[in-house]
Amino acid sequence: MKGYRDCELRINLKEKSIEKKPLNPEYVEKYMGGEGYGIALMWDEMPHDIDPFDKNNLLSFNTGPLTGTPAPSASRTSVVFLSPLTGTIGASNMGSHWGAELKFAGYDSIVFEEAAEDPTYLLIEEDQVSLHDATALWGLNTRETTDALKELHGENHKVVCIGQSGEKLNKLAAIFSDDCFAGRGGAGAVMGQKKLKAIVVRGNGSVEVADPEGFMEMQKKAIQELRSEEYTWGPVHGYGTPSWLDGSNEYGLLPVDNFQKNQTDKLDPILPSELWNNREKFDVKRRTCYACQLGCHKFVVMGDVEVGELEYETIAAFGPRCGVYDYKHISMANYYTSIYGIDTISAGATVSAAMEWYEKGILTKDDLDGLDLKFGNGEAMVELIRKMCLREGCGELFADGSYWAGERIGEKAKPYVMTVKKMEISACDPRGAASMAISFGTSERGACHMRPYSASIDAFGYLFPDLGIEEAKDPFSETESKEWLKALKEYFVVTNLIGLCDFNVINMEIQPSTMAELYVKTTGLPCDKAELLRKAERTIALERALNYERGFRRKDDHLPKRFMNEPAFGGPAKGRTVNMDAALDRFYEACHFDAEKAIPTKEHYATLGMAKVAEVLYR
């Protein structure tokens, strides 16, 4: 079993004990690694009904078998936990160089049990693993923490850490690693609750590959596939993800004013070219994750403010969604979320909900420390974000996201909360792409645009023959078969298991058969395209099982009412609403789900080799 380092690091933060043990071979065979490995651990070892802030919440950092190899963007680490934001499983992944370093140090996964009493950080230097006092770091922001730890231990050490938001158990808190974030679901708050400030890693070991020559051939093929996709290797390679703004707006997928509209004519000032062509105001630096071909990260510096990586989702969340069309305020909002460490998507979405509450008279200036929170008021947005991050003043009300703010405000606020399973919908209007309604609705971790980003297929018209998607799909039909969406979702989840970045598949670049070959050449284990997808299907089935145990059913796979009742404002989808029930029926059929329970049927669990899981669910 090459590729893997075959070592799981177990840290009990209360006992301060450190244990190294081989990976569980059953998990590797069934779920491969990464997200799947973490979920399997949670299912087997964690009580299913605990509160996410319970000390028994199992927090794990899981790399995939390809992490650390030269396969395209083989840098990913999946952070798996019970999400304080949603109450569902939490699976959030990040790039940077940390995951590869962890593999070089000799570990595939780190699992944290229980909680420390005092601030702590973990230091891993090869086989020397130790827990240290982090009292001096507590209260520092993400970049200060990283710098302090690098100063202390060495320039080449890689750091993941939380900022003040994580310490304050902000349910939107993210985990930071060199301006890459495990953003969604509140992973940072789980670290904060465990009083775990940072993990520092340095490794000098080898990630072995079963068939180096075969691997190099497949790696070349994968690179070729990536480089031959025009859009990926054109605008995204050059401008990064902000290049999606234009297309997203044109196809009526862009959230404007908290999803009141799906298109805007004011986009020009925030097109990515504005960042590049304004050299006196903005300096764009480039720094990529480990082994990344694409290089989507564009680090923006505005005057003396090191803003951080500006992504499509961030710009859309702080920009059109809040009615703000200038980079100055979007950049400042991103700066605060970066240094204090919260999820930019949810942060922008929460502010936009607050703006709508303010405009509808549900909130007044008195509730907002005097902020005039109209759509388009960038200054007020930035100030509210800062307050949210630090739970200052009125920020306390919004610090845990729009769902929890809505709960605190009352019934009249709830229709304007744009969440699924309490997580804010990201920047893609489901009225513009029928499949995205299902992706957001049925995502196991709450509204997520990467499970899968299916608008590429039905709205933008990509095909994916190697995955069985040979004909164009209708972006406005809920009733056509969703077999293709099942396959696409599994393929997106495969990237989380194997340790590659989703951007390798978002525009159908790397083919599933190439991916399977990469896995085979790396590990030496037998696998093909079908088995690859099967591993992802098992992971999804187990995530569904855990959610089911926690009370999640079909009703929780629904979108907010706005998408069913208010017709789309513009673009090809003009006048359209979502028919969620029909969409869910088709998707559940394709996935062999029980229509009410929203989990695979007993028989289907048995076909997946998960009869034991079904016994628990169908008892």
Partner: protein, 133 residues
Amino acid sequence: MKPGRIKIQVNASVCQGCRVCESVCSLSHIGAVNPNQTGIKITETKILGKFKQTVCQQCIDMPCASACPENVITRDRYSGAVVIGDGCIGCGACQEACPIDAIQMWNNTAVKCDLCGGLPKCVSACPRQALSW
């Protein structure tokens, strides 16, 4: 094959520090990825978005070869690369002699760029065309 003396040339301003060159180098030479057994090395600098690339420039006067007490460092007649032959005792004299610190010591052996025998793999793997030969 390119005629004349070749070496890896670097355009530092376009490197974004992904280290795929390191990874590919290590994998194709030792069959595993190890950040210390690479002929090319990318390190972060204090300036954000600027990286330092260290790779052997296949010097004409070969200070490493002069320093080697075992005389195992020679110029490959086919590729023109300065290569470490069998018999390295791991003394580290070549590393000390190298003016640009392009030789790494690992497990008592010197590691340096050998131009992959003439067709450097890091060059084709670099997504930013920061490397050429």
